[in-house]
Structures are given as structure tokens and as C-alpha cells.
């Protein structure tokens, strides 16, 4: 395996050096900007990139280099190239949690002041938080995402406000009809769930880039909810291996009434399970306590400009164009990906994209709480949280203290980057 990895590194380095040679500036004509991003299935990024290339009056042309569809694999390919100072990367399609890591490693060009002003206008504050590192803007948010509580109107006339309410309703409906679906496999999805429970309970994982918070009472409250969710009779049988996709499939299967998931499940149900689709509705991520607002998660893609790019000015000009309101609307229309600017939600087309739940999407993103990605060691934190709490079925809802102690211990080590993970 090591040989495989080393060989892959070698090939990647070789490939990029060849690419770099081929791309030596021809003095006239548009420069080619290589945008490394996963192949978003709707083709929305390609469409707006083409539009911007045309509008640039021959200043640049955007070329796509595709990354794998899984976020962790995208990151692995990007960091290999960036670690080798590959100059063939210009625009990077980055998951919102990579900003601190990439910025601290010196792989990103900070966004220049003039661009920063243009690209943060009307952008939700929660979204901008994911683009900053040490109070400086390093990336440009292009689209956002969040999870909603999906429910069936025929079985739950009113959506539950809190997790406890949801579990009670689900258990009453029974496992034939009342299951709820979520993400608790040992992967990033579990970190999202845990972080949102902790944030909704009123505390945070980190107090600063290298400082742990995790106040005892609210964290234990959050873990107790997680334990109750995982061990409920209405939990999916595969709760320890559940992902966005198993949740979607479970909900489309018909025995579930509730599901925490991203908006992609809506068009999917329309296609795969029309009966379920007819009774499907969305509400905000449930609260942990009845008196505290919920903090939905935040996902999406931020654009970074590689520190090794030979065309940073053109690259930043491209980011300014790519996130124009009309392009955000286009991306929402084609791919269903939520815009990052609040004013785009005032457009009438948005109601067609998110029929009946456009306000929930907007409100969720506005009140979202990012994962602790201000830490450059976010990857360690993520691994540590997964390791400390998976499988979540082992968390005792009545006595979450052992789980809390373990979580603190792992997070503390991750912040110091000590030991194996």
C-alpha cells in the first residue's frame, strides 16, 4: 500500500510538472485558470464558468479539473498537489471546513481587500465565518448548504420542535411507520451531527483556534440526546453506519417519518418515491432544549486561490464573477445548491427551487453554526470526535458523563496534535 501511495504521489508530481510545462504563458490570449472541484452532477459550475470566461473579455478562460465526489478524497488530492507546490492549480473548490488548515499551511492567497468587499456583500455572516482564518478572508463562498428536518405531513401534522419531541412522536408511531433517519457512521457526517447538537445546547467545541470549550452541562445534554437518538426503538437499524445516502434510501423506503438531511433529498424523492414526495415537508433542524434556538449545520463550497497560482489576479477576478447574484441563482436553479447571499432569496425563482421551504433554508443558513474549522488542525479534531463517540449506540442517555470525559480527552489531544488518531 505504501508503494501505491508513493507511486501515486510520484505520478501526481510528474503529471503536474508536465501540465506546468505545457501551460507556460503565451504572451497573448486569455490565461487558463484551472479550477479543481468535484464534478457537480448538475453542471452548474461549468455553466457559470463559461459565462464568466466569456464576460472576461479574453482575460481568462476557466478549465475544469475534476476531483472525486467524496469530500475527504477531494481534500487528499488537493493537499498532495499543494504540498508539492503545484503551480497548475488556480481555483480550488474547497469544503467549508478546510479554510483554517489550508490558510495556515500557506497554500492560499488571502483575498485582496477590493475583492473581499465585493464578495462579502450581503453574504450571511455564518457563511463568511467559514471563509475566514484569524480575522482575514482567505476564501470566497460560492454556494452554501444546510440540513433540514424532513417529515411526512400525513403522519406528523406538525413538525416537532425539539429532538425529544421528535423521538416521542417517532416511538409512538412505531418502527413500521415512525423511524427517523440521520447520519452517525464514523465519518464527517457524525461530526456535523455532534457539533450541531453541542452548538444547539449552547456551547462550542472550541473557544479559539487552539482552545477547547465544551462546557460540561450543555455538552452532556447534547450527548444525552445523541445517546437517546441512537438507542431509540425508532432509530434506523443501521444507525452506526448511517450516512446521507442510507438516510435518504430509508426515508424513500416509506417506514420513516423523520429525517435530518440536505435538500438534495427533495428532488431525489420526486424521482424515486413519488408517494413519499407528495407528503414530504421540511422544517428547521430540531432544538436540543425548548428554550434555546437550534443551530443548523453549514456546508457548501468556498473558492480558494492557490498560493502557487501564476495568475492570482485573474483568479480573484473570476471569483468575483462566479459569485454574482445571477450566477448564484443559476447554481440554485440547476443544482439546488443554496445561495450564500441573503438578497438572492428575495428572487421569485427561489420559491420554485425550494417549494414551500425557501424560508426554512434561508433561516437555517442564517442561524447556522460552523464546525470548529477555525482550527488549522480541524482534520485531527474531526477524527478525534468520530473516534470518541462512534458508535453512538454506546452513549448512555441517562449517564453521558463517560462519553463526555472521553470526548474532552480526545479533543484536547487533537488540539495539541498529540499521538495517533
Amino acid at each position: 500500500m505504501w508503494r501505491g501511495v508513493i507511486a501515486a504521489l510520484g505520478v501526481a508530481a510528474l503529471g503536474s510538472s508536465i501540465a506546468a510545462c505545457g501551460d507556460s504563458d503565451s504572451s497573448s490570449g486569455p490565461v487558463t485558470l484551472n479550477w479543481f472541484i468535484f464534478n457537480e452532477p448538475s453542471g452548474a459550475p461549468q455553466k457559470i464558468a463559461k459565462r464568466c470566461s466569456e464576460q472576461s473579455n479574453g482575460a481568462y478562460r476557466i478549465n475544469f479539473e475534476y476531483l472525486p465526489s467524496q469530500a475527504d478524497q477531494q481534500r487528499e488530492q488537493l493537499v498532495r498537489r499543494l504540498g508539492a507546490e503545484d503551480s497548475s492549480l488556480d481555483l480550488l473548490g474547497m469544503d467549508v471546513v478546510w479554510t483554517g488548515e489550508f490558510a495556515n499551511a500557506g497554500w492560499l492567497k488571502p483575498v485582496p481587500a477590493s475583492t473581499a468587499k465585493a464578495v462579502s456583500e450581503n453574504v450571511f455572516d455564518s457563511v463568511l465565518q467559514t471563509a475566514r482564518f484569524k480575522d482575514r478572508l482567505y476564501t470566497v463562498p460560492i454556494w452554501s448548504n444546510t440540513t433540514l428536518l424532513w417529515y411526512r405531513k400525513d403522519r406528523a401534522p406538525k413538525p416537532p420542535k425539539t429532538f425529544d419531541e421528535m423521538i416521542d412522536m417517532a416511538e409512538k408511531l412505531g418502527p413500521e411507520k415512525g423511524r427517523f433517519q440521520l447520519q452517525a457512521n464514523r465519518y464527517e457526517g457524525l461530526v456535523v451531527l455532534v457539533n450541531q447538537l453541542i452548538e444547539s445546547a449552547g456551547t462550542s467545541v472550541l473557544a479559539g483556534p487552539t482552545q477547547m470549550k465544551l462546557d460540561k452541562a450543555p455538552t452532556e445534554r447534547a450527548l444525552s440526546i445523541l445517546g437517546r437518538l441512537s438507542n431509540s426503538s425508532a432509530a434506523p437499524p443501521n444507525v452506526s453506519t448511517s450516512t446521507e445516502d442510507t438516510a435518504r434510501l430509508g426515508f424513500e423506503g416509506g417506514d420513516s417519518t423523520f429525517m435530518i438531511n440536505y435538500p438534495f433529498v427533495y428532488p431525489s424523492a420526486k424521482e424515486n418515491a413519488p408517494d413519499v414526495f407528495k407528503v414530504m415537508a421540511a422544517a428547521k433542524f430540531p432544538q436540543v432544549d425548548a428554550d434555546k434556538p437550534s443551530k443548523p449545520p453549514i456546508g457548501g463550497i468556498n473558492l480558494g486561490v492557490s498560493a502557487f497560482s501564476k495568475h492570482p489576479e485573474e483568479a480573484f477576478a473570476a471569483t468575483e464573477c462566479l459569485i454574482k447574484p445571477e450566477n448564484q441563482l443559476e447554481v440554485a436553479k440547476l443544482g439546488g445548491l443554496p445561495p450564500v447571499r441573503s438578497d438572492v432569496y428575495d428572487q421569485p425563482e427561489i420559491d420554485k427551487i425550494y417549494p414551500g421551504f425557501a424560508d426554512v433554508v434561508r433561516d437555517s443558513i442564517q442561524s447556522a453554526a460552523p464546525r470548529p474549522s477555525q482550527s488549522p488542525a480541524y482534520q485531527d479534531l474531526s477524527l478525534a470526535i468520530q473516534r470518541a463517540l462512534h458508535p453512538t449506540t454506546k452513549i448512555d442517555a441517562r449517564n453521558p458523563t463517560p462519553a463526555y470525559d472521553k470526548l474532552r480527552d480526545y479533543v484536547e489531544k487533537a488540539i495539541k496534535r498529540e499521538g495517533l488518531l
Binding site: I6, D72, N238, S240, L249, L420
Partner: protein, 307 residues
């Protein structure tokens, strides 16, 4: 074999002809040696150098020499020992099952009266499938929502195979066995082909039963081939990665040492710590190889002598 030939050549007086031949031999192997030095020795030395430093791509400011700190961190970690335990368990169980099944398959292939080609090809198919693809096939077969396994009689419909440590490891071992038994069978078949049929005939004349023939003739004469097969498979099994990566990604405490190395190197970009893990895996593999070669060394002359 070449070692034996070389030691025999040493004993005789060296003529000019052999000298010239030896020189030619050195020249012929030189490119291979240089290539080996470049592609294996350099990375190994580089990994050792990295393992003695604090190197984290995400924190370029904090690099420096730390001596054996990385090794201490790895060797005092529960995860490392759990990984070693898992890896050893997977290696021992899968190689043991493979040995028994592979021996059976080899005997069938050896004795097949008709359709030899078909039998041998059919047996080899799993080995020809890319490990990641095979791992996905097993993963989907055992996944409660898409797999057929839970529909089989006597198995609970909602059994979550990858939801607990033992059942995850069992599926991983099954996938490994399915995938590499043919390789074991092939090596043993090659060994079987070298055994003189005359010995069996003589034994039969003396009235030995089939069981006696297997234990008194086949097994002893197969020992060198057996040890080579075991060596290859044990080393291979010790580097188990693909199946685990695809099926559990190391959850349910199913991490192997290779998965641990991957996490430190590729996910965390902690090159110092990751290199220490790699070097330790290298040492373990070297140790296994050393033990096997020792066993092989004592067995080879006997095998040769009887020929």
C-alpha cells in the same frame, strides 16, 4: 535457487571464463540494482529521516528534529497496539483458512481428469479481480439495505454486519480469503507439480493409503512451496488495507496498521508521525520475512536432497 547455484560455484576453482561471466553478470544486474536503489532504498531512508522529525504539512513553521518522539508517541498509543492486534488476527486467521482451502483447490486442480484449463481458470478468477472492487462487492452483499446476505435463511433481516467489531472483522476476513485463496492454491499447485509420481506409485505398491500418502509424501515434499506461499500471503495479509478502507474505514475498531499509517500521513498530513508508523510496519514485515526465511533455509536442503 540462485543462492544455491552461487554457493556451489564458489566451491570450485575460478577460471578466467567464470570470472568474465561474473563480470558480465554484474553488468547485467547493475541497472536493476540502480533502479531498486532509487525506487526503494531512497524512499525508505527518506521515511526514516522524516520519522525522526516533527513534520506536519499544515504547520510548516513547526518543523524540527525530535529524535525518537514520534516512535514513543506511536508505541505508547493504544491505537497502535490495537492495530497490530487486528492486523495479526486478520493475517493469522485468513492465512490459516487460505492454506486449508488453497491446499484442497490445489489438489483438485492437480488431479482434475478433464477440463483442467477450465477448472484452473475458474479458480483463479477471484484473484484477478481488483481488491477494491472485490471489497465493494462484499460490502454491498453484506449491507443490510442493498445486500442479499440478510435475505438468506437463518440470518436476521436487520443484522448490521458492519455495526460491530466481530462481524465486521469476519466479513473482512471472508473477503480476504475469497480474494487470495487462488493465489495460495496456485503456489501449492506449482509445488505439487514438482513431486515425482514414482514416489506415489512406490507407496501404493507398499500398501500406503491415500491419507498416508498425503501426510508422508505430499506434505513433506511440499514444505518449501508451502513456506514460500505462507511467506507471501502472511506479508500480504499484514499490509491489509483495501478491504478495511472500503468496508469500515476502520470504524468498530477494525483498523489495521496500514489504515493507521494512512490516517496519519494522508488525512492528518502529519508526515513525521506517519513515517514512524510506516517504519514500524516495515520493521514488523522484515521480522516476519526473517522468521520465514530462517524456516525456509532449514527446509530447502532436505527438499533438495531427496530429489
Amino acid at each position: 535457487m540462485t543462492a544455491v547455484a552461487a554457493s556451489k560455484a564458489k566451491r570450485g576453482p575460478i577460471s578466467d571464463k567464470t570470472k568474465a561471466e561474473r563480470k558480465l553478470a554484474y553488468m547485467l544486474v547493475a541497472p536493476a540494482i540502480v533502479a531498486m536503489l532509487l525506487v526503494t532504498v531512497y524512499p525508505i531512508l527518506y521515511a526514516i529521516a522524516l520519522s525522526l522529525q516533527k513534520v506536519d504539512l499544515r504547520f510548516p513553521q513547526e518543523s524540527g528534529f525530535v529524535g525518537l518522539d514520534n516512535y514513543t508517541a506511536v508505541l505508547t498509543s493504544d491505537l497502535w497496539w490495537q492495530g497490530v492486534g487486528n492486523t495479526a488476527l486478520i493475517a493469522v486467521i485468513s492465512v490459516a483458512i487460505e492454506l486449508v482451502l488453497g491446499m484442497g483447490l490445489a489438489l483438485i486442480m492437480h488431479k482434475a481428469l478433464f477440463g483442467r484449463g477450465v477448472v484452473r481458470t475458474a479458480t483463479l478468477i477471484p484473484y484477478g479481480i481488483v481488491t477494491v472492487v472485490a471489497a465493494f462487492a462484499w460490502f454491498f452483499a453484506f449491507d443490510p439495505s442493498s445486500g442479499f446476505v440478510n435475505n438468506l435463511p437463518f440470518i436476521a433481516d436487520d443484522k448490521a454486519w458492519f455495526g460491530s467489531h466481530n462481524s465486521s472483522l469476519a466479513v473482512i476476513i471472508m473477503a480476504e480469503v475469497w480474494k487470495t485463496t487462488p493465489f495460495m492454491a496456485l503456489l501449492l499447485l506449482a509445488g505439487l507439480a514438482t513431486i515425482d509420481e514414482g514416489l506415489y506409485e512406490a507407496a501404493r505398491v507398499d500398501g500406503a493409503t491415500a491419507v498416508q500418502r498425503f501426510f508422508k509424501i505430499t506434505l513433506p515434499l511440499l514444505k518449501p512451496a508451502l513456506l514460500v506461499a505462507l511467506l507471501f500471503r502472511t506479508l500480504d495479509a499484514f499490509r491489509v488495507f483495501d478491504s478495511i478502507f472500503v468496508m469500515t474505514r476502520g470504524s468498530q475498531d477494525t483498523e489495521s496498521v496500514s489504515i493507521l499509517g494512512y490516517n496519519q500521513l494522508i488525512s492528518r498530513l502529519n508526515l513525521g508521525l506517519g513515517s514512524a508508523v510506516s517504519v514500524l510496519i516495515f520493521v514488523l514485515v522484515l521480522g516476519i520475512a526473517f522468521i520465514f526465511v530462517r524456516l525456509l533455509g532449514t527446509s530447502t536442503p532436505a527438499g533438495q536432497g531427496e530429489r
